[in-house]
Amino acid sequence: MSGMRILIIEDDQEAAGYLAKAFREAGHLAECVGDGLEGYARATDGGYDVLIVDRMLPKMDGLSLIGGLRQQKIETPALIVSALGQVDDRVKGLRAGGDDYLAKPYAFSELLARVEVLARRKGGGGASPTTLRVGELELDRLGHKLTRNGKEITLQPREYRLLEYLMQHAGQVVTRTMLLENVWDYHFDPQTNVIDVHVSRLRSKIDKGFDAPLLQTVRGSGYMIRDSAR
């Protein structure tokens, strides 16, 4: 996904500059604002695909900012970044109207993946399709049936949810923590390669015996499912 407009509301100039540069290199447009009030004003004007909001900002803190926007019915997806705790703060942030939460310090690849998913959620919106397709792979969400090239593949319940999440974000990088959050509903950091093993099991089911691998590992980031033939 390319060409997102991102507003970074962060009082640490250097961190904001680094993020903006990294986003530009990833093909997006990023603007930086140093305090909460200005961030609020700019976000109200709209036109952004995603907001990245630091929890602690001068003049107006991040949660009030998002709360204010939501009251004005401005639903631009907002990702909260915070140097505070990992559990309590997430709950507070999401309750205030944030769409995602990342504790500092974080890897840029993690932030990028999450921002791209948020931006797409904004674009897509609406009802979710009953059938997900990636190349020859077809997931029938009503009948809970997976086929590739018309050949049926049986999945365990968790594998089904894993694949469903990957296919919903086809063409986008999905990180391990995002998978843990969305498929298992846990936000901690899995110490070993637990997610990798789940993914490789799934991969062996959907890609084994076929020429074009659909489920790819993105080094340093996570996974992506896409039709590589195209």
């Binding site: 559990v87 309590d88 110490q191 070993t192 637990v194 093993v197």
Partner: protein, 468 residues
């Protein structure tokens, strides 16, 4: 300040002094009141006696006139312990009685009055009496009275007793106060002396106990417990900083070495790329350690409390085990979950999940059987025991020697043999912190062979409201 000055300034002495003053005032009031009441009682008795005598005399006078009165008076005067009598004519000259002289104007008006007098047969002893003067027809005057010596001497005795007792009260009270103050002061002095030397850095020292089990002993014992805790915390801080130094320095050094090596040896961009990717991995590991440390610190400080909900711990255990199942299978370990129905607890599903994940992760990493060829088995069990819930993870590895069981909950503690394997040494610390947050505890048991770690937390009350 002199030793005595110090003594006078002690709380114990000031208290005794306060009590002394209050007691002295109380005693004075009581004794004054007693002596006043007794004096009044005596006065009343004297009045009654005098009245009775006058009644008798006036009867005699009515029957036999002045002669009879004088006769009776003269008879009575001779009796021992007699009252005072005086009968005068209209000129004021004495006809009969046992009073030698009176102040001149006493007899002028009838009525009751206190007066000085001199008794017949005594030379110039000034006495006081309570007298009643009575006018008789024909200008005769009759005085009947009682000496007030009894009353006066009683007053004197009472006054003396009051002064004496006050004197002794003050003396004994002061000495007692000094004695108590000295005793207390000596012990307080000993306590503050020890406290001073503890403050100067000898944290191992403890406050002295007198063995009396009184307030001061209890105070000292509590302070000792506080010192114990401080010493533990200090040791903890020291250990943590040592370990942080070691465990963060190691990956930091590795990171730096990689950068240096890449700068020195890399010839083409792919070499740089590999080096940078490795460095990124290293720094991610650093971030992970750092996050875990922060999390533990915040959990222990109580600033992080997690989402507080009512949830089924058995389901959580199954979820987490399911998460680790493929890893276990790959490692050739049977991961078995044993739960009995719904086990409701109130707390943070997220944090308890993470604690269980850490335990399972540890069991998979370190819990392989000693004997070759035996298939490893990790057992996860959640069950309700009374009003508690026990969540345990058991393996068949080498276990933890009893001597190390307390130690493993410390941050960065990694036992011999595990140092070479990946891990931060923070997993169990986090488990302990999470258990603590849920008002629970962590037990280490022998799985014979292997290790069983049990997290014990209170079960949710049956009527608990999930919205709480």
């Amino acid at each position: 300040m002199t030793a005595l000055g110090k003594l006078f300034r002690t709380t114990a002495f000031k208290l005794s002094l306060g009590y002394l003053v209050a007691f002295a005032i109380g005693a004075s009031v009581v004794m004054t009141w007693v002596s006043w009441s007794v004096g009044r009682l005596i006065d009343e008795q004297i009045g009654a006696t005098v009245e009775a005598e006058i009644n008798g005399l006036s009867e005699q006078y009515a029957q036999g006139g002045i002669r009879r009165l004088v006769d009776v008076v003269e008879r009575r005067v001779r009796q021992p312990g007699a009252s005072l009598y005086l009968v005068t004519n209209f000129q004021g000259q004495t006809i009969s009685g046992n009073i030698k002289s009176l102040p001149p104007d006493v007899l002028l008006q009838p009525g009751v009055r206190e007066t000085s007098y001199e008794r017949v047969g005594e030379s110039a002893i000034d006495r006081r009496a309570l007298a009643r003067i009575f006018l008789l027809p024909g200008g005769f005057r009759l005085l009947v009275g009682r000496d007030l010596e009894d009353r006066e001497s009683l007053r004197n005795v009472m006054g003396g007793a009051l002064l004496t007792s006050l004197f002794w009260l003050v003396v004994i009270g002061t000495l007692g106060g000094l004695f108590v103050a000295r005793r207390v002061l000596r012990r307080v002095e000993a306590i503050s002396e020890s406290a001073r030397s503890i403050m100067q850095g000898d944290l191992a020292q403890r406050l002295p106990l007198a063995g009396a089990n009184d307030e001061l002993d209890r105070l000292a014992a509590n302070l000792n417990e506080m010192l114990e805790r401080i010493q533990e915390l200090m040791a903890g801080v020291r250990e943590v900083s040592d370990n942080i130094a070691h465990d963060l320095k190691t990956p930091l050094t590795r990171l730096r070495n990689r950068a240096e090596e890449a700068l020195r040896n890399a010839n083409q961009s792919s070499d740089y790329r590999i080096a940078l990717e490795k460095m990124l991995e290293e720094s991610d590991q650093l971030i992970r350690i750092f996050n875990a440390l922060l999390m533990i610190a915040r959990l222990e400080a109580g600033t992080e409390r997690g989402d507080h909900v009512l949830f089924d711990l058995a389901a959580s255990a199954r979820d987490v085990a399911e998460l680790y199942e493929p890893v276990a299978e790959e490692a050739g370990v049977d991961l078995v979950v044993e739960t009995s129905g719904e086990v409701l607890v109130s707390g943070s599903r997220e944090l308890m999940g993470q604690a269980l994940a850490n335990l399972i992760d540890n069991a998979l990493k370190y819990g392989s059987p000693q004997k070759q060829g035996q298939r490893a088995r990790v057992q996860v069990r959640v069950q309700r025991v009374g009003d508690k819930v026990e969540a345990s993870v058991a393996d068949q590895g080498s276990g933890i020697p009893a001597a190390d069981r307390e130690r493993v909950f410390g941050r960065f503690v990694r036992l011999e043999g595990s140092r070479s394997r990946p891990g931060s040494g923070l997993g169990l610390s986090l488990v302990a912190a999470v258990a603590g947050l849920h008002n629970g505890m962590v037990k280490i048991e022998d799985n014979e062979p292997g290790l069983r770690i049990v997290v014990v937390i209170p079960a949710a009350a049956a009527e608990a409201n999930p919205l709480d």
